[in-house]
Symmetry: C2
Subunit: 342 residues, 2 copies
DNA sequence: TGTTAGCACTCTATCAAAAGGAGTGCTAAC
DNA sequence: GTTAGCACTCCTTTTGATAGAGTGCTAACA
């Protein structure tokens, strides 16, 4: 059977109505639509076909129909309105003074949650292949030195280090010089035993300190960027009756609290290589069990080449896809602006 | 009327039973207690008295009795068992390698939530009256310098700074020398205009850079320590039927997500000056509206004099106070150990 | 041939009444 | 002072009846 124009229209109406109400949609409701002008009986015939084709199902005999994942998929793929974006200026809601990127992202999550009434999560930017740009160790007092490492993406890591024997000023200068000349521009794979041996030979003693410093550098380069995930509005999920009753919802809320799970999700999902920036996952497509009754819309933002992060919105399947997509799109361009000005 | 020994015993049994089951407790249930060996009729008389005295209430005629806040108060004040602490070694559950304090505290929250099945929150340590211990600026490339500030509590702050004109090496050494000699040991109130003027006179030019650096220092000293709150197990709250149905619970979950609210709470609650380290708030005593059906147990940890943070557990009123208090107590001593070894 | 009206049927949601259960308060006896 | 017994209350659960919504099918219509 083929999806006739009319079937499509009816399906669209069913989906739209269901998105609004969350209740199964019956043939009479549809028949009232002035655009179609068909009797409920005709609609019933068509609905019967649509059901056979797997686009809608009845929760039970004598209930209206509700869209299946397949229908949602069709809807978001082909029926989304290019509606005129009268989305509020999100930028205004972002505190312009937010100098630090983490504060900004936290705000993004919050603004999105407030605007959409769904749960949102934002992952911090992930830097790939980090290299050492600058190293400096500085004695602070007799028993501790401060190690500062600047990476090529201008991230700065620092840590205090306890030492057993004091290091004199001259030694510090020598150490800094050797470390910088030897390690500058290397990534973690290039710091092999040969190089380490070379450093130790040049310095002569204080090998314990060198080991500690090298360990710090290793951590700085491999560290998981502290899996920074900002979430907001997780409790919005409880606003949708079809979700709030489910047992999976507790699990889902948990996932939002234990950001690690979400992090995994973002990790395993490839940076949707230059396809389209906005991706929609419906039900099982999310591959997350506790989200099987939810939909998820994600967008990828890019700060520079290779530096990207994700923004995700989780809600019921009957999500207002139109609004979510356009809000996200608008937000992405505004973020672009902000990053470009930096 | 006075609380006789027997009344106390009966009340205790009622509370214990209710803590376990969450269901109203009837006279028959109590009469089965081998320790009391009284008929249900006798119990009924006593219960009637207890009700009159405000320790228990009936949710409706012909239901069992449930303890009031007053009864809980009495219970935690006088009846808590000094039960032999067979609490698991929490320390083992804390990853010893957790070098950084924020990782440690995050773990503390999680371990507590897992052990108690309640929601937990941990506030990061708050440092009072911070002073400058060490300042260093370092040129990274032509247009940026790195500023590192070490505070007297050994916290390290750093930030990149864009500059218009390059600074030569000699100038950097001079700047560092002047900044350190002038500002070392000062807190934010002591950095007045006179001192700033003195610095600028000594350096001669580059006043723009100095302004920026001083601003950073100011921020580092006054910054709100990023109101670090770690929460865990918020969804545990949903495990208790008497809470999960309430509308306040969504609000409470929200409070856990928006950590700010909790932060406020911790802020306004004084660092319970050397009283007892563990405090119990029942119902309205929490002063938080969304917690009026909950109880909260908090403990204060101290890293050094004047450096403290709080650990809190939120659960239903029928919380296992015994366990929570002893777990917290055990955790506090173990944290003490960890901090002392530092 | 596509559309529609009509009707029987199914299932759910809702309400009221009934039954069962738990618990109390009171009284009288021990 | 304690307890057994009983009437009473109120909640919870079950049951049955009813109304409503929606469907599928058939027959009539254009």
């Amino acid at each position: 059977m083929e999806l006739s124009e009319r079937k499509l229209k009816i399906l669209q109406t069913i989906i739209r109505t269901y998105l609004e109400t969350g209740e199964p949609v019956g043939s009479r409701t549809i028949s009232k639509d002035p655009e179609l002008n068909l009797s409920s009986a005709t609609i019933r015939n068509e609905m019967s076909d649509l059901e056979e084709m797997g686009y809608i199902i009845q929760p039970h005999t004598s209930a209206g129909r509700i869209p299946t994942d397949k229908a949602y998929r069709l809807y978001v793929d082909t029926m989304l309105d290019d509606r005129t974006n009268e989305v509020q200026n999100l930028k205004e809601q972002l505190d312009e003074k937010a100098g630090k990127i983490d504060v900004l992202l936290k705000q993004v999550a919050k603004v999105l949650a407030n605007n959409t009434n769904y749960a949102t999560m934002v992952s911090g930017p992930r830097y790939q292949s980090k290299k050492v740009k600058f190293i400096q160790i500085t004695p602070i007092d007799e028993s501790s030195i401060l190690t500062v490492i600047v990476l090529d993406n201008n991230m700065v890591k620092n840590q205090m280090l306890k030492i057993d024997e004091p290091i004199d000023q001259e030694m510090v200068v020598k150490l800094n010089f050797i470390l910088n000349t030897t390690l500058n521009g290397l990534d973690v794979t290039e710091m092999n035993l040969a190089i380490i041996k070379k450093i130790k030979e040049q310095v002569g003693h204080h090998t314990g300190v060198i080991d500690s410093v090298l360990e710090l550098i290793g951590n700085a380069l491999t560290e998981d960027d502290e899996l920074e995930i900002y979430t907001s509005g997780a409790t919005n999920i409880l606003k949708y009756p079809e979700l709030s009753s489910k047992s999976e919802t507790t699990e889902l809320l948990n996932a939002f609290e234990e950001k690690r799970i979400i992090n995994n999700w973002l990790e395993t999902t490839p940076p949707d290589s230059e396809t389209h920036d906005i991706q929609i996952y419906i039900g099982d497509e999310t591959k997350v069990d506790s989200m099987k009754d939810c939909s998820m819309v994600t967008a990828t933002y890019r700060i520079q080449e290779g530096v990207y992060g994700k923004i995700g919105i989780v809600g019921p399947k009957r999500m207002d896809y139109d609004k979510v997509v356009s809000t996200l799109q608008s937000l992405m361009t505004q973020l672009d602006d902000i990053f470009k000005n930096d």
